[in-house]
Subunit: 454 residues, 2 copies
Amino acid sequence: MAERLLVIGGDAGGMAAASQARRQQPYMEIVALERGRWTSYSACGIPYLVAGDVGSHEELIARTPEEFRDRQRIDVRMGHEAIGIDLASRKVEVRDHTRDRTLQLGFDLLHIATGAHPIRPPLPGIDSPYVHGVQTLDDGIHLLEHAERGGCETAVVVGGGYIGVEMAEAFLRRGMKVTLVEADEQVMRTMDPDMAAPIATALRQLGIDVRLGVKAEGFEDGVVHTSAGSIRADIVVLGLGVAPNAGLAADAGLKTGVRGAIRVNRRQQASVDGVYAAGDCAESYHRVTQRQVHVALGTVANKQGRVAGLNLGGGYATFPGVIGTAITKVCDFEVARTGVNQEEADRAGFEYETVKIDSTTRAGYFPGTQPITIKMLAERDTRRVLGAQIVGREGAAKRIDVLATAITAEMTVDDVIDLDLAYAPPFSGVWDAVHIAARKGAEALDRAVASRLR
Amino acid sequence: MAERLLVIGGDAGGMAAASQARRQQPYMEIVALERGRWTSYSACGIPYLVAGDVGSHEELIARTPEEFRDRQRIDVRMGHEAIGIDLASRKVEVRDHTRDRTLQLGFDLLHIATGAHPIRPPLPGIDSPYVHGVQTLDDGIHLLEHAERGGCETAVVVGGGYIGVEMAEAFLRRGMKVTLVEADEQVMRTMDPDMAAPIATALRQLGIDVRLGVKAEGFEDGVVHTSAGSIRADIVVLGLGVAPNAGLAADAGLKTGVRGAIRVNRRQQASVDGVYAAGDCAESYHRVTQRQVHVALGTVANKQGRVAGLNLGGGYATFPGVIGTAITKVCDFEVARTGVNQEEADRAGFEYETVKIDSTTRAGYFPGTQPITIKMLAERDTRRVLGAQIVGREGAAKRIDVLATAITAEMTVDDVIDLDLAYAPPFSGVWDAVHIAARKGAEALDRAVASRLR
């Protein structure tokens, strides 16, 4: 096999594939194109770079182009942007920004990992240089420069999702006055409203001015205009979600799906032979709703990239999909979710019961024990756990992984009650909070059956 | 149903059953006998009581006899010891220590939860009052009194299991000079030797004098004689494991099994109709080895008690068994295990591969990230995860729950790689340490196949 694998995109979805393909095929030619200046960096680390937790943007880089070249013989070409794909002649047209020229590169195998871009609604002034997206490492570097510049005292974050609350904390910890503007009536729309309410409370207690039901309407230098008046802003960040960079693939004739993301099968194969895609530009399969979804997360990009790389290298691997797990923290307030929330469960047509419990992260009497609230959704009849949401303090949120594993295994609430989870007073109560939620879930399902029989 | 349920034993295995039965049957008569002074307390909290983390022994009591009486109408009789069971006439002979009299109590349903007792090898001086077991709340109170007494400066802990290392830390934090004597060549025999070695190192770094391969041979006031000389000891604690209190049940003709524990089926029914058992006095089923085992842990006692109570109350419930999960910490050094270790896997006849990985509890660049080492055992051919062990610092050990859940679901290493675990830089790397262990496990299994085909 003396083929050429061409990879478009030098971050997780692309380089995880390139690395894995190399491990399978020592002699394959692997060329990777990256239009920017960086490979394989942690975009999720940007809020912590801006906050000052991370000393330099270089710490966010997992592997440099030189490392890919020297250790894995991957020919990474920086400043090279794919601008057209010809699937019939199996060639990519490439703009080499470093030498200001255009070239053509043939491929036997193509892997597309073009990522996503922050959504920028067409509002007046949105393209001004002080309105930042948070997506690339360059975004992070610009934000940091801007935040460190003298006179940067007020920040407005537009959108109260994960990036929004993380950036709000980052600015707060830089000593800035922070306003978070969210068009919806709650922050964190991936959480149910009753679980999002304590998050907004926690943000406000930290000193963040959270304005719900307020729409950003335009940006001027130093001011954000909203549906409820103007707010001073030396810096603005957009946290309105991202959209896949799938135009290049679509223009080439590859099928796209949810939100325009590239359609892939379980092996990460796109709709044409020998063409794969992974990461923020591609669709995922949701194992609970059994529907295609678009998830832009580093974990998913790495997993999909690995699977694509195994297949590109002549192996056989499938990616069984996601279940919508996510986590964040704001100062010491932790938030996590997995599976479906109520809105998603309703949309997917599930019949379910919900329960919510308050417990502690350690034995109630143990020093440093912290509050944890778990909400659980369980399907009627099958008694399967469909979803869970956690809010709490230190040590609370990572418990979501137990529920993510249980949901993946299609466990019932009764199965979860029986789980042999680790107990010692510094780590949990004798019934872990996860157990307690499952017990309440079982009781709610029992009551639902009883009331139907009555 | 106007029956009488008689419960022998007022701690977790007994009172969880009594409470659950009450919830099912509002009118059933429930009498519970407790020979000691306390109900439903956290024996696992005793080391933290002695260390001074917990202000008073009362904080370890989950529910008092009065609360059981007033809230649940459970007739708890303190200072009452069952001294004989007549299964034919369905009566229990009871010694009432409070009034120094013996009485007979009939029952329709009987639940035995007599617990366990610390193993005391027949060594000279072992019954002296300064050689303590760590089992009952009274043990904890005596230990605390002893430790707080003036002149208590040296402690010897015999046995390096969970209780042993927890008590060693407790004495250390009281400012005592602590020696831990372990007859085996490693501490924590539920861990493989290579995972136990760093625990011994951590104990020594804390200042505990760990003596491996040393046997206690006798006790005199102020001195412990060992196979390697004498050690000064103002206080001695035994951490040599526990044996079930099953003599009463065995004498009555109930079947016993592993280590003499009461044999029960999946509904916690003993070998005679209408008689149940739960907790430290009863056997458990190990879901990985598919063998009966004896596990004396509060979590298991609570789960078994709940299942017994559901059945005693006329419901239907089964306890599917344990997988040997356990956790502890010594200062900030955390230890956990689940499933089988190598010795257990060998004894059960599994063919398996082992891998060991070093990772971090948070993103490598994130402040406060701590080391975590995971060892994983995976079965050849089926690729199932059979067991896992974790050592590390803060935030490491509770990750064992993900692996416990995966093992329960009979997941393969490949299933674990695909788990949608929660990622954000303050909580894990983009590949969680659990993922990394599973990836190494998959590679090891692949290599094993390749080497067999060669």
